[in-house]
Amino acid sequence: MHGSSANARPHRPGRAGTVPLLLLGAGLLLFTVTLLDAAWRGNDTALASSRQLVARLGLTDLALFTEARYTRHLSQADRHTAFQDHPLALDHFPSGSLVPPPARLRQP
């Protein structure tokens, strides 16, 4: 009679929580990494070239919406630019529905 079976550790079922908890821990770790990444990469030096160009050329707007002049130079738009065809013309450029009128035009 061998004593191995008597000495064998009792069989314990695998704990259901181990893998999900490890995954959750990894998620939390990655979450922290995103905060560090934002602090590390999100500095102003990457924008230096753009900032210099804005100062040199005296630019006033971002080139985000180039389809219509009042969305290309949003801050320079006047009250009429969205109604360029006639006074009741509905805005027909898609970005017109994404951009509000300049802040100064919304004041009474």
Binding site: A16, L30, T34, L47, S49, T60, R69, Q76
Partner: protein, 377 residues
């Protein structure tokens, strides 16, 4: 302390094993939950990043821009206005700006032509933005021909291409010299698109603007702070619009999650009854269900947020590009600078994790406080 932790660990093990028994249903819930968090977090991260970038970039915009208005529309301004402005105290520098739009029918794109103030460009040459160079396949030495306002053809040689890392502000720019600009658009000498001013003391900018409005009643000054405010409002507005568009799917999810979390199935009720019958305390049952809600919602939050971070800051928010692009042919290729606003992330966390966890615990509390025999029947 270790007893408390061990107890929680066993509860978590039990909860996860219980969730595993209804794998399909729970994974489906996690998937939809993650998608909702992903969409909300993507909009939030993208808008915040652009808002911050716009603020940093446009800090260097002209302090005051003076536009002339004719019949409510922006018109050319005579150079004589510069001399009149010179009499206003506090104005340190003033110059006329020449810029305008040109629609290129060849690629159906709008360009912004601009005359740089302190850069010499040879006659017949132009410097193009990286967006135009990409769209038209241009490089230094290539030629670009446009039809002018008078119907003449103007051939410009591309002298240089602007840096591609500045595309956010220069994708559609064409820089030409003053003589070429005036000849191309037929603008007489002594007329400018608008005027730009630098004010010696930043505290006096508003005062200078007031004086200008009185002195030149047909003009309107646009201050740098207004430009910054416009962009601040733009990204808040857009974030708001997307949230409104998402509201429908968000409500659908809330109903789904509420139903899933608060409506106990007969199987779950039986499970609670058995647990109580074998000696579980009410508090343990509630703790177990708390862990169920917390683990599902925390998992969905982490997955959704991480996917959104990768989408916005590593894949340039590719899903939003078609919305931003509209009908525009020229769209800047740019990678948003990673920027995370702690308060916004905390708000997102609170509104995604907290309600679901509460919705899971409340009905369980009702079921767990009743008699096991009644629950099992």
């Amino acid at each position: 302390m270790s007893h408390f932790l061990r107890r929680q660990r066993y509860l978590i093990d039990f909860t996860l094993a219980s969730l595993g028994r209804r794998k399909g249903k729970n994974l489906g819930l996690l998937g939809v939950y993650t998608l909702i968090v992903f969409l909300l977090a993507s909009v939030m991260l993208f808008s915040q990043s652009l808002r911050r970038e716009a603020g940093l970039l446009l800090e260097n915009a002209p302090e005051v821009v003076v536009q002339r208005m004719v019949a409510g529309r922006h018109d050319l301004i005579p150079a004589a206005y510069l001399e009149r402005i010179g009499k206003v105290r506090g104005v340190a520098a003033k110059y006329g700006r020449l810029w305008g739009y040109f629609y290129d029918p060849a690629v159906q794109a709008n360009y912004t032509l601009l005359v740089p103030r302190d850069q010499e460009i040879k006659s017949g040459e132009m410097i193009v933005g990286a967006g135009i160079a990409r769209t038209r396949g241009l490089g230094a030495g290539d030629y670009l021909t446009f039809r002018s306002a008078q119907g003449q053809s103007f051939a410009f040689r591309v002298a240089d291409v602007l840096a591609s890392d500045a595309e956010l502000v220069s994708a559609d720019l064409l820089l030409v010299n003053e003589a070429d600009y005036r000849a191309f658009f037929g603008i007489a000498e002594g007329m400018y698109t608008d005027l730009a001013l630098e004010v010696r003391n930043p505290q006096e900018v508003r005062k200078v603007a007031e004086k200008l409005s009185v002195m030149l009643p047909d003009t309107r000054p646009i201050l740098r702070e207004e430009i910054l405010r416009t962009y601040d409002a733009l990204f808040q507005w857009r974030q708001g619009i997307v949230f409104v568009l998402l509201a429908g799917s968000l409500l659908a999810f809330v109903i789904f999650a509420w139903d899933k979390a608060s409506g106990l199935s007969a199987e779950e009720k039986r499970e609670i009854g058995i647990l109580k019958a074998i000696g579980w305390e009410t508090a343990d049952v509630i703790r177990m269900k708390f862990w169920e809600g917390a683990l599902v919602s925390l998992g969905a939050f982490l997955l959704g947020y991480l996917a959104a971070y990768v989408h916005v800051f590593f894949f340039d928010a590719a899903l939003f590009a078609p919305v931003l692009k509209g009908w525009a042919v020229l769209y800047p290729q740019f990678r948003p600078q990673p920027f995370v606003d702690g308060l916004q992330v905390a708000t997102l966390f609170f509104f995604t994790v907290f309600p679901y966890t509460v919705a899971t615990v409340v009905p369980i509390w009702r079921a767990a406080t009743t008699d096991p025999d009644a629950v099992m029947r």
